[in-house]
């Protein structure tokens, strides 16, 4: 029986046996901060650590529901949550004790009309492939102010359901949760803010994940990313509205300690784009990698 969560703070995670070893630590870092944690367990429950001491943790057995969904499993519990803050989390991060509080402060500053992430990135106007990036805001690295991203890391992603509608049923079956959420946020007119934080605020437990595998070949992510125009111009209106909301909320005392990237403000005022939305030198390394992959795949074919 999967409990419902309404009007609270819920977290959703997908895991699989390869990550069971870390699960207790990860869960322990989250549960004091939330009302309900849903863990969608892919493959099997065999070897799953005992999490029963936390009454607000719900295990969802993939075999009894949609089967192995990989990372998309973290979206499955959304059907059981309403009018809540939703935190999508990963099974390989230790979340800091002020994780939810810090996110909630950001939501308050934008009247909940935004998505928040710690790990984010900015895609170039027309990416060659999924790993073509203007900038990555690495979850481990410090950030001193709110930065606008076009791509969110779903393991650090949060939103409020009154403002952002995400349904498991709409998610593509091939796992591409990051892109699915990021495109959804844009389509619903919501900015994705990278949260300001100190260095190593989140602690990554290491180990290879899906991401490393995706980088070694051309995947469906690339086709999806190439289907869109990611230029700053398309985000300008969203950002403009969000900054206006922030300023109004700040005047009411709801944005204490938060600052929006001054480059973004300037770009909105006078034109241009923040430097994080411009390609940097690493673009050429990624480009070579892309062509090498194409050459390799063609050679193999």
């Amino acid at each position: 029986m999967i409990p419902f969560c309404e009007g609270g703070v819920a977290a959703c995670m997908a895991t699989y046996p390869g990550r069971f070893g870390n699960l207790k630590q990860v869960v322990a870092s989250l549960v004091p901060q939330i009302d309900q944690l849903y863990i969608y367990v892919n493959e099997t429950l065999d070897g799953l650590p005992d999490l029963s001491r936390w009454p607000n943790v719900t295990i969802v057995d993939a075999r009894a529901h949609e089967g192995d969904l990989s990372a998309t499993g973290k979206l499955f519990p959304l059907e059981f949550i309403s009018r809540s803050f939703v935190f999508l989390v990963d099974d390989d991060f230790i979340y800091p004790p002020d994780y939810v509080a810090r996110y909630r402060a950001i939501f308050a500053a934008f009247d909940d009309r935004c998505c928040v992430t710690t790990h984010g990135g900015v895609l170039p106007p027309r990416p060659l492939w999924y790993f073509d990036r203007c900038r990555s805001f690495d979850a481990q690295k410090a950030l001193d102010r709110l930065h606008l991203a076009s791509l969110a890391g779903s393991g650090t992603f949060a939103f409020h359901q009154d403002r952002f509608t995400v349904r498991f049923a709409d998610a593509p079956r091939e796992p591409m949760v990051d892109l699915f959420l990021s495109m959804g946020a844009f389509d619903q007119g919501l900015p994705i803010w990278c949260a300001p934080r100190p260095e190593r605020w989140l602690r990554h437990l290491g180990g290879a994940g899906l991401w490393e595998g995706y980088r070694a070949r051309l995947t469906h992510h690339t086709n999806a990313a190439r289907s869109r125009d990611w230029s700053f111009d398309r985000y300008r209106e969203i950002a403009d509205r969000a900054v206006a909301t922030f300023d109004a909320r700040a005047a009411e005392g709801f944005a204490a300690g938060l600052t929006i990237d001054s480059e973004l403000r300037r770009a909105l005022e006078v034109g241009g784009e923040p430097s994080s939305w411009r390609r940097d030198r690493s673009a050429y390394r990624q480009r070579k990698r892309y062509f090498d992959l194409l050459l390799k795949e063609e050679g193999a074919a």
């Binding site: 001193d144 480059e263 050429y284």
Partner: protein, 778 residues
């Protein structure tokens, strides 16, 4: 007043424009963009190239000619764009076309707000178009960037070879395939060169101590023109001491000796500045202490001055938060004069008089020496200790072109070198003279808008920099729409700063930007008569000192140019201008347009030469400054105003300009004489001349008369004679005047031009360069 920054950005950013035949994208001048274009022919089996058009538009939709940047700042292979084009034979698979995704680099020219890429070739379609702005620290990263770009292009070229049908690899296809790699590399290399370092500061610093006194000659001339300079006692900082010294005889009152000084020297007043100590290090915290009370000696000074009837004025250069420290001094002073804006104070002392933050331009003596090429100065180095972002900024641009120093606080160079890195050149300044000398040698001054220094420190730093001929750029901080600070370039990142700094390397861009800032400074940040009187009791300067009358002398024998000459004169922004038009012909025009009270018309028979006409005009001039204008050339509306400003700043006897830009009406094209481009903003050197159409002089200086005998070379002979007389001649700018050349060469005495002398002239732009120099990018 609208600000005239050299860069403006359109309201839209660079954007993907789809796969149509035309792409357009917003630009930020000076920014580097990468164009990625994939073209495919509807027929054929071999790789080919296709020409595409690329044009730039300003924010009004007027074309911006990319040649205006000059050869050193040009990116090759852009006009026209030649783009590799896949044949129809290549499969339309998802990634199949990426092999021929062309890469091209460009830098947005000055004033450009939009770029348009057009494709007119029949049978070719654009299937990918992207214009992506880049954020690359070119001086630091270009080597690695070029390596990585080459590797990416090589990998792409391999893919392209594999994709194309083997039989289609003819000679032309091979050439195009090579072009796909070599052209973007060449372009990126050319861009990297434009961001490269200059000569650095080492040489410029070597003789800085000697250069520190260079501004004194100009202020001595200024003093000579004044009568009855008031003698005042002064306690305060060196900058204010020098400023007061420009219009009064200043006695530094010493803590040990002030009684004897006051007793022995009749003073008309005492000025005490709200600084922690005197120029010479005494009176430390004597006038301002926690609690607002003064020290006993300070109190005694007020008492003694009152007893002798010498008024004491407090000059507040500190910010309002420091004001309570000086409360007792304010209460006892005869006047409190605040340097700043009333809006900056919530509760100013009762009866306070506000003066603008100001500098005497002659003190900074712009152009008194050669400016170091590409020299960047950060005069607020202490901020690097407090602001991590600024520290990172300095690190990111730290190279031999950057000199970090500190103008306001005690400063240890070694600590800054430790904080930044080995490339940082840190220098400790000895005093105001050395600071001014450093600024005179600087091209770009980097300030931080997030500095904690109060008292309008940012504005003061900008004022001094501009007055010395440098251009300040502000890192972050609040951007104010109005005033001098609002007119400055603001940058958010090191890359953006480098973009601006590169734009400043283009001579005319730099000149136009500085002239606009200097004009603003002279309008709003130079003390005028009322201000001087408020500080020292009365104004010793002559009545028309702040706004001298300028007489424009035009000699013409072409009646068809009378209307145009009048329009040029009447457009002048300097309110105190008069015109003397000398019509040098036996055939007087039948009618004349109605003249205004400040316009005089003389008719002189043709047997008199131009020298005679000029002498007559000058003799009739009421202005202290006269300036010659040609009847057919193009002059800026600010021509007289800028002339007055530069006379004040340089105190030169003669000011002229270089005739660098020529508009050839027959071709509707402007040309530049590159050879002369490094002669602006300097004292005239021995073998240099100034354009005859721009000669000017002061009537109160011993300038020679023009020759009554010569028919040719009257102007150059006059310059030679002035040189023989040892007069101080200044070569100002080149963008305030554009020489007009009629399609008919017979219309001019001097017929050399691009056709006759192609090595001397380079094409500058389509149309009249006057429009470029007059364009307000804001």
């Amino acid at each position: 007043m609208k600000h005239d920054a050299i860069r403006t950005e359109a309201k839209t950013s660079s954007a993907v424009c789809g796969s149509g035949r035309v792409g357009a994208f917003a630009l930020c001048p000076g920014r580097v963009y990468e164009l990625r274009i994939a073209l495919r022919a509807r027929t054929g089996t071999a790789l080919r190239e296709t020409e595409m058009g690329l044009r730039f538009l300003d924010r009004h939709g007027v074309a911006v000619d990319p040649d205006i940047v000059g050869a050193a700042f040009t990116t090759p292979h852009l006009n026209p764009l030649r783009i590799e084009t896949l044949p129809a034979a290549v499969a339309d698979a998802p990634h199949a076309l990426d092999a021929a995704l062309a890469s091209r680099f460009l830098i947005a020219p000055p004033d450009a707000a939009l770029a348009e890429v057009t494709l007119a070739a029949p049978g070719v379609e654009a299937i990918w178009f992207e214009a992506a702005p880049l954020a690359i620290n070119w001086p630091r990263e270009s080597k690695k960037m070029l390596e990585e770009l080459r590797k990416a292009l090589d990998a792409q070229a391999k893919l392209l070879a594999r994709r194309l049908p083997a039989h289609a690899d003819d000679e032309e296809a091979a050439r195009v395939r090579a072009m796909a790699v070599s052209v973007p590399i060449e372009q990126a290399q050319a861009i990297a060169r434009q961001f490269s370092c200059g000569q650095g500061w080492a040489t410029a610093l070597a003789d800085i101590a000697e250069a520190a006194g260079d501004g004194r000659g100009a202020t001595a001339l200024l003093a000579a023109a004044q009568s009855a300079r008031p003698r005042i006692g002064f306690i305060g900082g060196e900058r204010t001491f020098r400023r007061l010294d420009a219009f009064s005889d200043v006695i530094l009152l010493r803590e040990d000796d002030w009684r004897a000084q006051i007793a022995g020297l009749p003073l008309e007043g005492v000025v005490i500045e709200t600084t922690p100590e005197n120029v010479l290090g005494d009176w430390r915290l004597a006038f301002g202490r926690l609690g607002g009370a003064m020290d006993e000696p300070a109190r005694a000074l007020f008492t003694e001055a009152a007893r002798r009837g010498v008024p004491v004025r407090m000059l507040v250069t500190a910010c309002e938060t420091e004001a309570p420290l000086y409360q007792e001094a304010f209460d006892r002073a005869d006047a409190v004069v605040i340097e700043g804006l009333p809006a900056e104070w919530r509760r100013p002392p009762d009866g306070a008089i506000f003066l603008p933050r100001a500098i005497e331009p002659a003190l900074m003596s712009p152009g008194s020496e050669r400016r170091a090429e590409r020299a960047i100065l950060c005069p607020c180095g202490s901020d690097a200790f407090q602001d991590a972002a600024f520290r990172e900024m300095l690190k990111a641009i730290s190279r031999r072109d950057l000199l970090v120093t500190e103008f306001d606080y005690g400063f240890v160079a070694k600590s800054l070198r430790n904080l930044l890195d080995a490339h940082c050149i840190a220098h400790v300044c000895a005093g105001f003279g050395e600071r001014a000398a450093l600024l005179r040698r600087t091209s770009t001054v980097l300030l931080t808008g997030r500095s904690l220094r109060g008292g309008g420190g940012l504005e003061t730093a900008a004022i001094d920099a501009i007055a010395a001929g440098a251009i300040p750029v502000v890192f972050r901080g609040p951007r104010k729409g109005e005033g001098l600070l609002g007119a400055l370039e603001h940058v958010e990142t090191a890359e953006e700063f480098l973009e601006v700094e590169r734009l400043h390397r283009i001579g005319w861009v730099r000149e136009r930007a500085w002239r606009r800032l200097f004009r603003l400074l002279c309008r709003e940040h130079v003390w005028t008569s009322a201000h001087r009187a408020a500080l020292v009791g009365h104004d010793p300067c002559p009545p028309d000192f702040d706004a001298p009358l300028v007489t424009n002398v035009i000699v013409s024998k072409r009646p068809q140019n009378i209307d145009r000459s009048l329009a040029t004169f009447r457009a002048q922004t300097h309110a105190r201008s008069e015109l003397i038009f000398v019509f040098n012909s036996d055939h007087a025009p039948d009618t004349l347009p109605p003249l205004r009270s400040n316009e005089q018309f003389f008719i002189i028979p043709e047997n008199r030469n131009i020298g005679y006409c000029l002498n007559l005009g000058i003799a009739h001039a009421n202005g202290v400054i006269w300036t010659k204008m040609d009847d057919d050339d193009y002059y800026s509306d600010f021509y007289n105003e800028d002339l007055v400003n530069i006379y004040r700043a340089t105190q030169a006897d003669i000011v002229g300009r270089q005739s660098i830009y020529f508009y050839m009406s027959g071709e509707d094209t402007s040309y530049a004489r590159s050879r002369l481009e490094d002669r602006m903003m300097q004292r005239l050197q021995d073998d240099w001349f100034i354009s005859g159409a721009t000669l000017s002089g002061r009537k109160d200086r011993p300038t020679p008369p023009f020759s009554h005998a010569l028919r040719n070379a009257v102007d150059s002979e006059w310059v030679k004679e002035a040189r023989r007389r040892g007069l101080d001649m200044f070569s100002f700018d080149a963008t305030s005047m554009v020489v007009y050349r009629d399609a008919d060469p017979a219309a001019h005495t001097w017929i050399r031009g691009p056709a006759a002398d192609p090595r001397e002239f380079r094409r500058f732009c389509a149309g009249n360069a006057h429009a470029v120099f007059d364009r307000s990018p804001s």
